[in-house]
Symmetry: C2
Subunit: 338 residues, 2 copies
């Protein structure tokens, strides 16, 4: 009613062609003669015409919309991923409908998203409830869990090799001559934490070592601070801590240095996970494991687009290699020269 939008009909009238001809001019690969196209483009320019993507989506069944769920944007891993993922999707002609995972009514938000006829879903926070996952599978909407997985789910997943990453860190710490090696967990329900922890213990076991202590930080800054205090305020304290992600590691380092007046790595070695930008900052110089975000995003976009375009959703799980990044927050392995 209040819409004063220019439609293809308006352009057709001005160009003295049919509405179909206008539509074809704006559809890649449609057959229009050069003359017709010329007339249409001229009229369209004159009127400031722009095709209505919603109408196109309705009729063609292709919205070119991808829902991306995020949270934890205070952990720099996610903003960087979001930035790269949006650009990659934009480049492929898709657009991002962004949702913050609201703790509480996750399901309602997901319902809303489905109403928008998204063609694919990226879950970079939480995971789809099994109900919803089933609904998506039924509707044929591909879902990819980013940096998490649920073995029993029909959803695809893209992760880095968190088990191997944990293992790498265990070797590094044992090699550094540490004798009381502790672990600060993230969210214990998350696959990242489970895998990093399992890999870490496995790596320790390979040297006949067991973990000296353990606390839970829940992947939050404050939770990590509590965990650090819990672990280090006893008479005997660890001489190395693997903190399940970088974001928490910064908090742990702050507590150890400022509250406990401990030197890193002289008194305690700290290693993290993710290799977020701040890890390389002078104030931290954190030794960590890099999650290969660029390949992870490529894999995500590829899985999504392949399944959208083939209209065939089958579960895929991409696991990309992790890499140790050595900086200065942990003592180096002694035989590193050898």
């Amino acid at each position: 009613m209040t819409k004063n939008n220019i439609t293809s009909g308006d352009v057709a009238r001005l160009a003295k062609v049919s509405q179909s001809a206008v539509s074809r001019t704006f559809t890649a690969g449609a057959s229009v003669s050069p003359e017709t196209r010329e007339k249409v483009q001229k009229a369209a320019r004159a009127l400031g015409y722009r095709p209505n993507a919603l109408a196109r989506a309705m009729i063609s069944g292709r919205s070119r919309l991808i829902a991306v769920f995020v949270a934890y944007l205070d952990n720099q891993f996610y903003p960087v991923v979001l930035e790269q993922m949006s650009s990659a999707l934009q480049k492929e002609g898709y657009h991002v409908l962004l949702f913050m995972t609201d703790p509480g009514n996750q399901d309602m938000v997901v319902q809303k998203m489905l109403e928008y006829q998204v063609e694919g879903i990226v879950m970079a926070s939480a995971t789809l409830s099994s109900n919803l996952a089933r609904e998506c599978a039924r509707t044929g909407i591909p879902v990819v869990l980013f940096n998490r997985y649920v073995p029993s789910s029909p959803a695809s997943s893209v992760t880095s090799d968190n088990i191997e990453g944990g293992r790498l860190l265990a070797h590094f710490l044992v090699g550094g001559g540490h004798e009381r090696i502790a672990f600060i967990a993230g969210d214990e329900d998350s696959s990242t934490n489970r895998d990093r922890e399992a890999g870490f213990y496995k790596g320790l076991a390979e040297h006949g070592v067991t973990v000296w202590g353990r606390a839970v930080g829940g992947y939050t800054f404050d939770g990590a601070a509590h965990a650090a205090r819990e672990l280090c305020s006893q008479s005997e304290r660890p001489d190395a801590i693997f903190v399940a992600n970088d974001h928490m590691a910064f908090s742990v380092m702050d507590v150890l240095r400022n509250e406990m007046k401990l030197a890193i790595p002289e008194d305690v070695s700290i290693v993290g996970y993710d290799n977020v930008p701040e890890s390389g900052w002078g104030g931290y110089q954190l030794t960590t494991v890099e999650q290969p975000s660029v390949p992870m995003i490529e894999a995500t976009v590829n899985i999504l687009i392949e399944q959208i375009e083939q209209r065939l959703v089958k579960r895929r799980a991409a696991v990309l290699p992790a890499r140790l990044v050595v900086r200065e927050s942990a003592r180096l392995p002694k035989n590193s020269a050898g």
Copy 2:
């Protein structure tokens, strides 16, 4: 064709009511008898029906889509804002179509966005080209520039009081007895930089002081490092630097400490702008000015929704108060006890 979606027609058939009745059941405030509503809801549940938001948008002219443009997601100010803004918009029943401002074809991206019939636009990176701004004004789409403004533009804007913030910092530094006060600029074309710089010089002038030196960091981490080297590698160096945002300030602090072996604040005081989360981290403890992100986001959402709902776009400019946050990266004013 390949769509196996359940439509309101399917639900109507099963519930033995008209398609209109189904539609009314899912429209808040429409008149349906309790019995009809009941029958419809039962059938809808049985079929797993979900209204098609695209069709609704088409017919009602209300997409409930807001385009948000961001960039610089490595500067923590923006992820935090994006998170809060999305949640606020979600709460109001709007959804975020996210766009990364691709340097280069900004205009093409904006065209794409307009095709999706967004009801409002938030520019948290760059600004709309004047062409596009005019087009939006014509179509009646409200635009709000977040953390930036263009006086000549029809777009609304929400900023903090960058002039006053700069002034506050000048007083603080002069009060601290600094004698060679320098400035590291961000992007010289940005309104934030212009205002912070102008306010800073004004504040210095109020004490009869002029800036000792100046370099440009372009709001990037690397640019700031260069600027710091340029400013501090001469025989005489500043004893205080106002860096135009926190993100750059961290880089400057790293260079001064690690490359130049200077102590902060003993040798050089550093102050920043934004009060991003990292400012409070142990490794930096940056004295800075807080941009009130929550009120800024509220103002943005309010302006947007008001203009959408009243179908009346008129330029508004909200300027919210800035506040000094004193930490440990700068010497304190001497008479702070008095």
